[in-house]
Each structure stands twice: as C-alpha cells, then as structure tokens.
C-alpha cells in the first residue's frame, strides 16, 4: 500500500481524534491509527458482560472544551452530556453530606452541617468562578518559553504578565495561593465541615501521588468551576452511551471531515528519513508514509518507544526518564442485579442519579494515601461511585444496573507487583469498604471487573497507568509539560508532533491538547488555523 497522507495520528484516544478532526477540517488527508479494536484510548465504552456496558476507564466528563463541542459540532455527531446532579458523601455515623447541584437545596443541606459554611459557600463559589475564568486563557494558549527572547515568546510572556496584572493584586495572590497550597489548607480557610472539605479536596488528588495535605493539590479544585454552570457544586456530567460515546462523536466528526481511521493498527515506530519523520511502521511491518506524524500517546511512548533514544538530545531523554507517571488509581466496574441501598439514605431516589463519594474526612483521605506511599493499596480507599444506568438506562438490561467505582490509592508500583491475586484482593477491599455504607451491595453483584493501574497500562496503553499521561504536578505543567523546551507540541524530530494529555494543558477529557497541537501543525504549514 503506497497511499500517502498529510498527517498520521498515532493513537485513537480523544486527543488524537480531536487533532485528526481539526486537520481534516482544514482539508488535509489524515489517517488515525489505533492499536485496539475500539477507539477512545482511556475513553471507551465496552460491553464487558453481556448486556452491561461500562465506561471501563474514564467515566465522567466536565472539562471537554466547549469550543471543541461547538467547532466540531459534536452534538450532531451524537454527543449528549447528561448532568450528574448531586454528590452524596455517606458518613460512618450513618449521617451523610449531600452536595446538590441545585443552589437552594445545596444551601439547605450545608446549613444542616454548618451555618458558617453555608455563608462562606456563596462567596467561595463566586471567587472560584473568578479564578477559573482567570485560568481559562492559560488553558487556551500554547505555553511560551520563559527563557526565550524570541518576539513570539516575549509577546506571550508579556500577555501573560498583563493578564496577571489585570487580575488585580488580590486575585493574583489568590491564584498564586491556589497554585502552591494544599487543597486541605485552602479549603480549611473557608470551611469547617469535614465531609465537605474532603469531598472537594478529593478532586485535587485524583491522578496524583499526593495526599490532600500536600502543596500543589489546591488548584485542581478550579476544574470544578470551569464548567459553564456558574457556582454549581459539581459541573460533572455523563455522556449518553458512556465515555466511549465522546470518542465516537469526535471520530464521527473527523470522518465526516474526511479523516480515515483504522483500528487494530498498532504502530511499531516512527519512520525516519534523514532525521525527519516520514511516516510510521505498523506492528506487522507495513509502512505508511505521511508529511507529518502526530503522537497522541503519552510522553514516554511518544519519545522513548516510537523513536530510538539516539535520535533525541540526551538532556531530553534524561528529563523524560524523570517525568513522573506512577499511576495511583484503579477502577472497579460492577454489574448489579438491583440498586445499592445506602444506609444513610435508604431506598431509591435522586441521590442514585448522582455521584457517591467515599470521602468522610481529610484524615480518611490522608490515611488512604499513607498506605500508597509505602507501596500498598489503601486499606480504606477514596472512591467516587456512579450508577450510569440510572442516568442512561441503555447501559444495562432492564431492571439491572451498572456501577462505576473510581478508586484511589492503588499504586502502580505495588510492593511485590500486581498479580491476579492482588487484583482480586484490591477488588475485595473496595467492595468491603463500600458495603459498610451500602450493606446490600455484595449480594447484588452479578459480575465485577477490577482494573488496576497495571491493567490501565496494558489495556489502554497509559504508561504506569497514569490517567493523565503523567502527573499533573506543578513541575510537570505548562511550559514544563512534558519537558522543558518541548512544550509546544513539537519534538526534536522534524515533522513529528505530540498532541496527547502529556502536553499542556493535559488531563481529563479536555481535548485542549489535541486542538492546540492541530493549530501548531497548521501554523507550521503556513495555514491560519
């Protein structure tokens, strides 16, 4: 086969598909190559047990950039986001804390726990919304090189400086504090209600190897306020058909624009000619040529697996070896015979259409982290639980349900390594802990699938099972993501680009990396994006 393309995208995850869609829309011949039989990478829906569909890995969506939904017209390609209306935090004493999406109900529930927090909550929401707005332009920009004196970098740095200046000193200081503080400390300045603080701070630890008391966990709180619902408690949503439906919608948009997509086409390596990328070699040996190659894989795979290290500068190889993945989370997916019954809120009800967060206190989360620090999975883990079949009945046979349990901490580097036995022990721990709050759970389980970080690596292809293609830590963000001087979606190999979550802004099903990468490629082609 001698067909040639303008761009080959390695990896059919959501970012790869976004890049493909944007390049195809500007008239380019694009080929996406996906190793698995389905598209989506970590954003896939699979029928693991007959009749039961699971968002096997990534399970909720909030950060998908609105401009991508708009520009690619994802709605007409089938994307439908169903909101998660509430978060229930059951407490060991049989009480609960309920975070409603509805403002008045949220306030009422807060007043039950703390009058002070109910007061603070309003202002907190407003401030965080401002902060999220302040961060948005940063998510939308190609990171400048702060050490460069080139006009474009200086210009971007000046724009960034002006942006900070325009925030005013009070908000600038708040933003700085958010960037450097721990979520526990930051939230303690506002609130006293432990389950409120813990449930909020849980979002700061997801995908990191940090506890809520570690600096650098506060800014992730902002992600909750980047949705379009002003001040909403939780702007998370669920895609009809599961997370894979997001990937399918983007793929459909890409195909409609003329992109070709091949599954079960694993790429062995990037084909180099005279030091430049000229195409790819598939696992079977097939060669496909293209003007540029774009990797949607994580940085380790993009640089160290798709290329020979000799084709890269030594200091880049060093810094990629120091780039940290160390996945810390796992999943348990359950097929249920009936609905779980939570002791704190018995029977069915609207709470089952929202999230259930096992995060009774900051201390609970810290102790969960302590186990992981020394190489064990948490004896009592943090969990974020949803019942997708409650929101989208098509996910399970009539009368039955599917439950998605996100679990932290489950360290990739487990003492003694992950084995089948350890995987099941981990699954048991999760079920046992959750059963303390929903005692009928065990008897309702028809099937269970336990996903360890090792499984995430093997199946979804994310190094060390890190769900964000590398920790979202301060030293791995913005112009340092994935490595100094290579944060602009390019690589030292000409015509070879990167577009995955390991580039700015990365993380979550955001799509921003894929979109910015496409813009940079088009710019290099002299085309206005």
């Amino acid at each position: 086969m001698t067909r040639s393309y303008d761009a080959i995208i390695i990896g059919g995850g959501h970012n790869g598909l976004v890049t493909a869609a944007y390049l195809a829309r500007s008239g380019r011949r694009v080929l996406v190559l996906e190793r698995r039989h389905i598209l989506g990478g970590a954003a896939v829906t699979e029928e693991i047990f007959p009749g039961f569909k699971f968002s096997v890995f990534s399970y909720v969506v909030s950060l998908l950039r609105p401009e991508i939904i708009r520009e690619l017209d994802l709605a007409s390609h089938g994307l439908q986001i169903l909101p998660l209306e509430s978060t229930l935090t059951p407490l060991p004493n049989g009480d609960h804390f309920m975070a409603w999406g509805d403002h008045d109900r949220a306030r009422q529930e807060l007043m039950r726990h703390s009058l002070r927090d109910a007061e603070a909550y309003e202002e907190f929401g407003r401030e965080m919304h401002h902060m999220a707005m302040a961060v948005r332009p940063i998510l939308e920009m190609v990171p400048p090189d702060p050490t460069s004196l080139s006009p474009s970098d200086l210009g971007a740095m000046l724009r960034l400086g002006k942006h900070m200046h325009d925030l005013g000193s009070e908000r600038f200081h708040m933003l700085y504090r958010l960037m450097t503080m721990s979520s526990a400390d930051f939230l303690s300045e506002w609130f006293e209600c432990e389950p409120l603080k813990a449930t909020k701070s849980a979002s700061g630890i997801i995908g990191t190897f940090l506890g809520p008391r570690s600096p650098g966990t506060a800014y992730v709180l902002l992600h909750h306020y980047m949705g379009d619902i002003d001040g909403a408690f939780r702007a998370w949503g669920f895609a009809r058909g599961g997370t894979g439906a997001i990937s399918e919608a983007i793929a459909s948009a890409a195909r409609a624009a003329g992109a070709e997509i091949r599954t079960e086409a694993g790429v062995e390596r990037v084909l180099l000619e005279r030091g430049r990328a000229a195409g790819v070699v598939l696992e079977g040996g097939e060669e496909i040529r293209s003007r540029v190659v774009v990797s949607a894989l994580d940085p380790r795979r993009t640089f160290l697996q798709m290329l020979e290290p000799e084709s890269l500068p030594g200091d880049l190889v060093d810094s990629l070896r120091r780039y940290r993945f160390r996945g810390s989370s796992g999943k348990v997916n359950l097929a249920l015979d009936r609905l779980p019954d939570f002791t704190c809120m018995p029977g069915p009800g609207p709470h089952l259409g929202g999230a259930v967060s096992i995060s009774p206190s900051i201390e609970y989360l810290e102790r969960a982290h302590d186990d992981a620090k020394y190489g064990e999975f948490s004896r009592r883990p943090y969990m974020d639980v949803i019942l997708p079949s409650m929101i989208d009945p098509g996910m399970a046979p009539p009368g039955k349900h599917v439950m998605s349990i996100f679990v932290q901490y489950a360290p990739y580097h487990l003492n003694g390594g992950w084995t089948d036995q350890r995987r099941e022990a981990f699954g048991d721990t999760v079920i046992d802990t959750l059963s303390e709050y929903a005692p009928n759970l065990k008897s309702a389980i028809l099937h269970r699938q336990v996903v360890t970080p090792k499984d995430i690596e093997t199946v979804a292809g994310l190094s060390e099972g890190n769900i964000f293609h590398g920790e979202l830590a301060l030293n791995q963000l913005f112009f340092l993501r994935p490595a100094a001087q290579w944060a602009k979606y390019r690589t030292p190999v000409r015509h070879y680009y990167q577009c995955g979550s390991g580039t700015h802004p990365g993380g979550g099903i955001m799509g921003a990396s894929g979109r910015l990468a496409a813009r940079e490629i088009l710019t290099d082609w002299g085309q206005r994006p």
């Binding site: 702060p146 050490t147 460069s148 400086g161 900070m164 200046h165 925030l167 000193s169 009070e170 600038f172 200081h173 700085y176 504090r177 450097t180 503080m181 400390d185 300045e189 190897f209 940090l210 008391r213 570690s214 600096p215 650098g216 966990t217 200091d315 120091r322 940290r324 201390e363 810290e366 302590d370 620090k373 020394y374 830590a473 301060l474 030293n475 112009f479 340092l480 100094a484 001087q485």
Partner: protein, 525 residues
Amino acid sequence: MTARYDVVVLGGDVESLVAAGYLAKAGRSVLVLEGRDHLGGSLVTTEPVSGFRFDACEHFAAAIAPAVVDDLALGHHGLRHTVADPLVIAARPEGPPIRLIGDPNATARGLASVAPEDAASWPGFAKRIQPFIDLLTRIYTQVPPQPGSTKPADLGSLLHLALRARGLGKTELFEFLRTFPMPVADLLDDWFSDDALKGALGALAVRHLAQGPRGAGTAFGLFHHLAGSATVPRGRPIIQGGVGHLAWALEVSARSRGVEIRTGVAVDRIQVVDRSVAGVRLAGGETVQASVVLSGHAPRKTFLELLDAEVLDPEFVTDVERIRYRGVAAKVNLALAEVPQFTGFREEDLRGVIMLSPSLDHVEQAFDHTKYGEQSGAPVLEVVVPSVLDPSLAPEGRHVMSVWVHFAPYHLRGAGWDDQAREALADSAIEMLGRYAPNLPGGILHREALTPVDLEERFGAPEGQINHGELTLDQILFMRPVPGWSRYDTPVRGLYVCGLSTHPGGGLTGQSGALAARRVLRSRP
C-alpha cells in the same frame, strides 16, 4: 512625662536588634522593648546547669548576612564568629556513616567506599543546585518584588531578578523552575540511591515544615536551608560562647550607638491616631511616643493583639489569620559526662551536623503522625555537639549535645503537651540516640526537653514555629508575611515589621532586620 523616640522596636530577637543597630547608626533615637528577660529570640544560649551552656533553641542558624557583621562592627563589639567546615554526617543503622563535606570531589571520594552508586552523582548534584542557591541568596538579600505591580521599584527589581535569572542559562533556568515545586524526595530519588544520604538531605529540607519529603514544594526547603552558602552542604555559623552571643554583640553594638534596650517590659498596645502610629503603651500603663514602630513579633501578635481591632481592614485581618505557623519540632538538650561514641564514627565527625534519619521513608513516616496530632515514636534527629568546636560551653571532658526532634506537632491530640508527653518525647529521642551511640544514654547528666508549646512560651515562637510562619511556597517572597505586604511596611502609617515572619524568613540571619531598617529610613524625610 512621656518619653519620645524616633523609633520603638518591639521584640529583642536578632532581627529586631539588627534593625535597631542600623536605625541608630543612621542617627535615629531608638528604644527596644523586649517582654522576656533575654534577648535573641530563638538564638539564645542558656545555662540550666552550672558549667553547661546550651544553645537552647536553634543550633543551626542560617548564614549570617556578611554586611550586617561589618556594618554594625559586631567583631569590634565582641562577636567571635566563624563558619564551621561544612560537614553533614548521615548516620546509618549498620555500617559507617556517610560524610558530606564542602568539596564535592572529596565527598565523592568518601562515598566511593560507603555508597559507591552515589559517588559519581554527588559532584553533579552539588554543581547543579549551586546556581539555584546562589540565585536564592541573591533574592534573599533584597526586598522581594511584587509581581503584577507596575510601580517602577517593583518593575525594576523584577527586571533585575529576571536578568539575574537569565544569567543561569536556559537549561538551568528551566531546571530551577522545575525543581522548586518538586517533592524533595523526587529530587533526591532522581540523583541518589543510598537511603541514609537521601534521608539526611530530605530531613534538612523539611526542617520546621509540616510536610514530609514526599510533599510537593519541599525541594525549595532544601534550597532555603542552603541559602547563603557557597557549598553543599553548608557550614553552620559558630559563635564563640554559644549562639546567644550574637544577640549579646548586637546589644553591645546597639547600645554603643545610643539604642536604649529594656527587657522584661511587656507592650500592651500600639497606639494609632488617624491610621498613623503615635507610640506604644506598656503593660503598666506607661506610654512611649514614636512616629515609627518596628515590630519584630509574629504578625499574629503585632496585628491581632497589639493593634485595636478597628484599625485594620477585615481583609487584611483575614490574611493575617490565615498565616500557617504549625511548629512541628521539639528540642532536646543534653549535658553529657563523656564524649558520645557513635558506632563507626571518626573523632572529627562530632564536629558536623549528625543526621539520624536513615531513609526518606523514615522521615515520611515520622511526619505521618503529625497529620493526626501524634508525636513520632521513631523521630528524625538533627544532632550537634557544640562543645566539640567551642570547649567553653562545657566543663573539661564533658559535653553539651543539642538535638532537634522532628516531628512533634504543636497541637498534640489528647491531653496535649503535658509532662508525660514531654518526657516521652525525650525518651524516644534518647532511645534512638542510644542505638547509634550506645554510651550516650548512660552518660546523661542533665536533660532538657522543649516541646513546641515550650518553644512558644520561652522563645516567642508562635505555635512553636521558630520561623514565625511556615516556609512554604505560598508563604515566601511577595507573600510573606501576608500577600502584597512583603516590603516591611503595613496598612498603618509608621508601623513596620521585621523578623523571621518577613522576607527572607530567617534564610539569612540579620537580613530581614537590615532590609526593614533600610525601608524605615527611606520612608522618612
């Protein structure tokens, strides 16, 4: 009759005394008021048993800002000050210790036999981080710029800093930005494999921090600790007669310039008229007039206790209330009948800083207890034997030993820091010392344990935090002591602040006093 001074300085710790000295040197009439009976703050030497002099609180002071010693002629006023040869001894439970000295190649040669894998890495590590330390030292000797500010002074200092930072070169600058917010454990894991080596450096990075080495931002703690040093590790200032003699020399120097110093005098109020300072009122009712008050106290005391509530905006008060102190260290001081015999040590090793911190996990586990309000059963110990370098501190043949014990939270769960908890702390420290120096427990003539609560009561360390505010990324530079007020002035005209709660937070001894004095002098005609 009411006394009148140009400046009243509150608190008699080292920074306040430095400021007083500079102000008097510039011709101001200055009164220093210290509520306690001793000067020096946390740099204090006591003699609880006859003949044994303890550096009761801090024993590993930051480098003394050289300009301060010269400007205030401290040598002339009796300061006998050297810097010990850099020497950090990382003790290991089995086998010989690791020795880190100033010459990186010599350190590497020493490592070759005890930690061969790390011998080759050490010089590269020392070379890599030295420019970061130099840049930080530079930042610590000037008023921190306010990012976002468009005032000419801020823009000027930002530009200066940017140029200075550019001097690092592209790769180093990226490394600087990348490294600061890292967990120090990650930084050390990137370079080294020996547990004791990493444990010792990790422990130095989290001194007085409510963080374990796996907490983000603790790499900064290591650089802060090394500020002012041309070597990794750094030597500690050796002040003849004990660290308290620094305050003593400062006192002599200040008095010689006409500064009046009163100890044992509690201040009740900073008096403010029309948002301007008018003077202070003492606990006895006596008032002292001054149009400038420079407070060396922690912000909590200065703003929340000494000022009338209505003087400050609620937002500013909130910022002051939000400062995190969280002392996490306790002090154990020992009078010893004989030289402690650490297994595998050479005689000269006692001249160094001895770290009983066998691994990063050990430090992290010691810290874990702090999160739950418990003291560590297996603590991290930072040990010095000051009498080895200064025999005047103990009778002949005997010794004093000074030990920082991490971690011991100020807010201890349960009964708090009662006598039982205090003795348990000393017991666990001594038990650990005994494992490394078997003759030590039997040779203790006198022991003194100071919990964070004791450190607060005796040395004015808020919540036992001797840095008067945790040195975390959100509480340094333009954020110290509160966001936007890092230039030693305050919302009250005529009220200024200095001390460890202000930039550079004890990163260079005497520097905040010097910078604050300069600020005061610039503001008046």
